[in-house]
Each structure stands twice: as structure tokens, then as C-alpha cells.
Symmetry: C2
Subunit: 256 residues, 2 copies
Amino acid sequence: MKKKPFILVTNDDGVQAKGIAMLTEIARELGDVLVVAPDAPRSGQSSAMTVNLPVMYHELERSDAFTQLACTGLPVDCVKLAFSQQIPHLNRRPDMVLSGINHGSNAAINVVYSGTMGAAIEGALYHVPSIGFSLCNHEPDADFSAVKAPFRAIVEQIWREGLPQGVCLNVNAPTGAIAGIRTVRQSRGCWRNEFMTSAMPHGNGVCFWLTGEFVNEEAAAQDTDEAALNQGFISVQPVHADMTHYPTLQNLVFKM
Amino acid sequence: MKKKPFILVTNDDGVQAKGIAMLTEIARELGDVLVVAPDAPRSGQSSAMTVNLPVMYHELERSDAFTQLACTGLPVDCVKLAFSQQIPHLNRRPDMVLSGINHGSNAAINVVYSGTMGAAIEGALYHVPSIGFSLCNHEPDADFSAVKAPFRAIVEQIWREGLPQGVCLNVNAPTGAIAGIRTVRQSRGCWRNEFMTSAMPHGNGVCFWLTGEFVNEEAAAQDTDEAALNQGFISVQPVHADMTHYPTLQNLVFKM
């Protein structure tokens, strides 16, 4: 194995979540660790950044091998801050970014909405191997014990073998027994019936709470993340930030 | 031309921005219009959603041909709300989504961070033709007059010809004279030196303001959005929400 990595751990459920505690445990078995994670839950924040306010942090723990910071920002802010090398006492650049373990699935279209994956994509933009991990159980007290060994094996393999520049991984684990690990593409899908309305006081009408149902638009496909998860496999999707739809490039001509 | 479309207009600079006024003007020349836009600037919000608070709106204007709502949410919330068909007096489903005109470039990696493009991608997930428009000038009083004719021509062509399901467009215009329109791929790039530190009171150290410099990692390429813009062309990038990096799919095998 190569030198011991300096691993940045972050998430979107906040620094106190159970999932990041398990990912931090995995990371500390493999290298020195810096945790920079939101000081409270920041789910569904995608690649959003804090634009009109400053970002701050406070230190929860600091030693040579382990530093833990709680940040007022979003997941992407946490990664940017860690790579900025402007934090006093911390000018080591991370060798690897691990994000999660998210409480809930980031398969299919959720990769686009996910703050966990926003952070992993950000790590890839800094040209280090980056992985977002999720367990398909959104309960705060979800049991992460079954995924520790396979997630650790994935981290070790990626640290050993690397990833192509600009590519990160979206790793999702099913609940229950794990049948194996499959490399897969993103299933086409979307959310529908997305709001619950509830009354506001003083006759002010209704407000809208986000909810909804996920629709898998490729339920018959066998090579997708959704299919792998439904069959008890951990899904590994290679992800990149190039959103160009290449087939359309050839067919689209505008005149002026 | 087909029937007159019912067009949803949104943005991330807020309902009062100059850019959305121009896009609304274009839309009203072509069809009936519903504006659902953030009640204040929401730049850099990507595909983020409002998860832990309700979303509300207030009506600024309402007639059969034109309704304008200011929403407390993020750009993606605005699109979800418009398609929810839960707004009283409004159960027409939009036929098309136009987002912008953004004050500032959404070319290259900015497509990932952009709330303007988050909204356009969301429109594609509702299976209607969707376009995000930007002008490479981030000033609040930017002059949008030169882009009106070419942007309107793009909207008309897409309404006539449609887009493949799940594909939307990221349209960026240069400042100054416009040489033409080019369909292009996303340039590889990233942001660096991203924080300005500034002191906090009471000896509390520093806080971090987002800033930074864009680095085009493919400055020599001729087929990218950045190259088109640098040569005075409007860039049109076809965008989709499948973030899978297909070349890596073949090479990545995990054992358990």
C-alpha cells in the first residue's frame, strides 16, 4: 500500500450524525483524518455554496492524527474550506475525500440533489480520489455495522488503485444482507407529488412542505443502481461533473 | 408553429432582477406566462431544495395571460411548486421552463453550482423543454438588450423542434458583439483560491467569504463553451442529469 493518506471526511447530515461517526472510524483505521462537516443537517443541498454570508467553523477536537471541525456552511463549503489551506494549524492538503455515510439513498436522480455527493464531486474537482457513501435507511439511528467492512474495502481499493481525474464514486448500500458489490449506471427517475400543503395561521392560506414519491423510470433495467440495490447489492456509480449530453451535440444547430 | 405555450419563468437572482425581466418579456411575446421566482437572490444554489422549512409564496400579479409569484424557496423549489398544481387558481401545467437570464456566466463547471441551471434541469425532469440563459456580466445593471433577439430565436426553435426527453440547454452569451451561436460541450475547469478571510470581533479569529478564480483546464480546446464565449459566440450546451462516467463503468470491479 502507498503512504498513509490524509483523509477529509464530511457529510450532509451534520457532524453529530451516526453515519459520519462510522465513516470517521473507517478513515481513522486507514490514515490521518480531518473532519470538516456541517454543524447541523444540510440534506438536499446538492452543490450549493454559501454565497452571501461568511462561513465559520469551531474546533471540536485537534491532534496530529485527528482534527474535527463543525462548520456553519454547506457540504461543498466544507470541502472548499478544507482545501483552502487557510485554517490555522492545518496546512496539509487532503489526499482523499470521503463523504457520508448518508442516512438515505443517493441512487438514481438523488445524486443530483445530494449534499453528500455535492461534497464528493467537489473532492474530484480538487483532483483527489473522492467517494460518497449512503445507506438506504434515512432513520437517525440507522444501523451502519453491516456496511463497515465493504465500505472500508472500497476505500482501500480506491486509495491503492486511484480513480480517473475528475471521477468520484456514488456508493449506496441496501438495508439487510449484502449480496456483493456492483458497478452500475444511474437509473433514470424523478420525484412526483412533491408537496404536502399545510395551513398557515391568520387565514394566510397554505404553505408547502417537501415530500414526494420516487419514480424509477427504468424499472425493468438490470444494469442500474436501483436494480443492484433491489437485488441486495451495494451499487457503485462512477460520477463526473461533465453534464453535457453528447448525443444531442451532433443534432442541434442554431442559426442567427 | 404549435399552440401557444404556457411558459414557466424562474431564475436564481430573484424576482426583481433585471435578467428575469428580459426573459419574462421574451416569454410573454410567445405565450402565456407564469413567473415563480425566489423573493431574493439565491445564487450558487445548484439543485438544492428547501428540506426542513416550508416553502411559501406571495402573488405579485395575476391575469389569465400573466401570473407572477415571489417564492421563499430556492430555484428548484420554484419549479417543483409550479408543477405541483397545488397553487390555488393555477392548475395549468407548464409546457416549457425558461430560467434566467442569469447575471454572470454558467459555462464550464458553473453549470454544477448554478441555481439557474438547477431550475432548468428540474424542468427537464418534468419532461418539458427547458432552457437556462446567462449573460457573462454579473453586474445588477447589466445590459441585456443585445441578447433579446438571439435568446428569443432559441426559445422559438426549441418550442418548434423540442428536445430529447431529459435534456435541457445551458445557454451563455458573451458581453459585446455576438458572432453567432455554437452548440458546444462543457469545458473542464474548477475554482481555486476560493476564500477571502476577514477578522471577526472579540478575538474570535477569522471567517471565510467565498470568492476565487476560475481555472479553464482545457484552454486550448476549440469545441467547448469557454472557447465559444471567448470568440464572441453564444454557447449552447445540451445538459442532462445522468452524471454516470461511462468509460469508468467498464474498468471498475470490486470483490467482497
